[in-house]
């Protein structure tokens, strides 16, 4: 066994680790989690956390976040959060100010605003460029299948194919700079 306290996180996001470590010296483990993840959100760690990264097909950045208290099994979670930067903060608010577990989409944004979070665009020049390049590359890669026009060659809008003919067997572009 190692000594405590302990902060551990995925990827070499050392500033987030440091922030959580600093917070745990005086705050709670939940405060440390929020501080650490918030640090990554504001620093846009690897472009995989926070605003201005991973635009969807229509160019919008959306955020997912969760916090879990292992002592009580309380959970606060947000999915497809739009136009609010501090996703882990909103997740904490779901845990603290509701008896529910997971809020999503526009309604999650409305909840966040109600709880005092600022509504603002998550798009940056960088995310706009990523989306523009993707459009110029005929929307490749994408995650569609069994639709027409052929999603391996064309952008949408897509319609369902008359029959399901395949599961796309391709290596998804999951790597250090593109992941959940």
């Amino acid at each position: 066994a190692g000594p405590l306290p302990l902060v551990i996180n995925t990827w070499p996001f050392t500033n987030a680790t440091l922030k959580a470590w600093s917070e745990i010296q005086t705050g709670s483990y939940l405060d440390a989690l929020v501080a650490g993840c918030s640090e990554c959100e504001s620093q846009q760690c690897d472009g995989t956390v926070g605003y201005g990264g991973s635009p969807d097909e229509i160019g919008e950045t959306t955020l997912d976040a969760m916090i879990m208290d292992g002592e009580t099994h309380d959970v606060g979670s947000v999915g497809d959060l739009r136009r609010v930067k501090n996703a882990i903060g909103v997740a904490r608010a779901v845990m603290d100010y509701t008896q529910q577990t997971l809020l999503v989409g526009e309604s999650a944004k409305d909840f966040a605003v109600e709880m005092g979070f600022k509504e603002e665009s998550l798009t940056t020049n960088r995310s706009a460029e990523i989306h523009s390049s993707w459009l110029q590359n005929k929307c490749q890669p994408n995650y569609r299948q069994n639709v027409s026009p052929d999603p391996t060659k064309s952008c949408g809008p897509y319609k369902p194919s008359s029959k399901l003919f395949t599961h796309r067997d391709f290596v998804k572009p999951i790597h250090r700079w593109n992941h959940d």
Partner: protein
């Protein structure tokens, strides 16, 4: 994505995640990060875990919950992390992802698959002079 597990000096534990997901996802798509037991999980007196990678695949196997249950049954965090991704690899040999795990006594470990290089994760404890990046070779 960042997935984090924190244990305080009294052994109390929590976990969290934050991500902007995959580039060019279908609008409305949500990954594993906000799904309890998928993106992360924590259980007092046992430990916590967090996952990263292909969320569409990982959420089908609840690897974080799996890892914590393995620790509850006596596995080390390292072994629990490894065992938690084995069912995913079996079903999806091209799967890309990683799991970190820690118990409430301060022991930790990680496992990964398909990254093409060692998985790097960050640790700070009284045992480390500062934040330390550890490289875990993939299975």
């Amino acid at each position: 994505t960042i997935g984090m597990v924190v244990v305080d000096k009294d052994g109390k534990i929590g976990s969290g995640t934050s991500t902007n997901g995959l580039s060019h996802k279908v609008p409305g798509r949500v990954g594993d990060s906000p799904i309890v037991g998928a993106g992360s999980y924590a259980s007092g007196g046992v430990g916590g875990a967090a996952a990263t990678g292909d969320g569409d695949i990982m959420m089908r196997f609840l690897p974080s919950f799996n890892a914590v249950m393995m620790m509850a049954n006596g596995d080390t965090p390292q072994k629990a992390a490894e065992k938690s991704i084995m069912p995913i690899i079996k079903a999806y040999p091209k799967f890309v992802g990683a799991v970190i795990a820690a118990n409430t006594k301060g022991t930790y470990g990680a496992a990964c698959h398909g990254l093409g290089s060692p998985f790097k994760f960050s640790v700070r404890s009284p045992d480390t002079p500062t934040v330390t990046v550890i490289e875990q070779p993939c299975i």
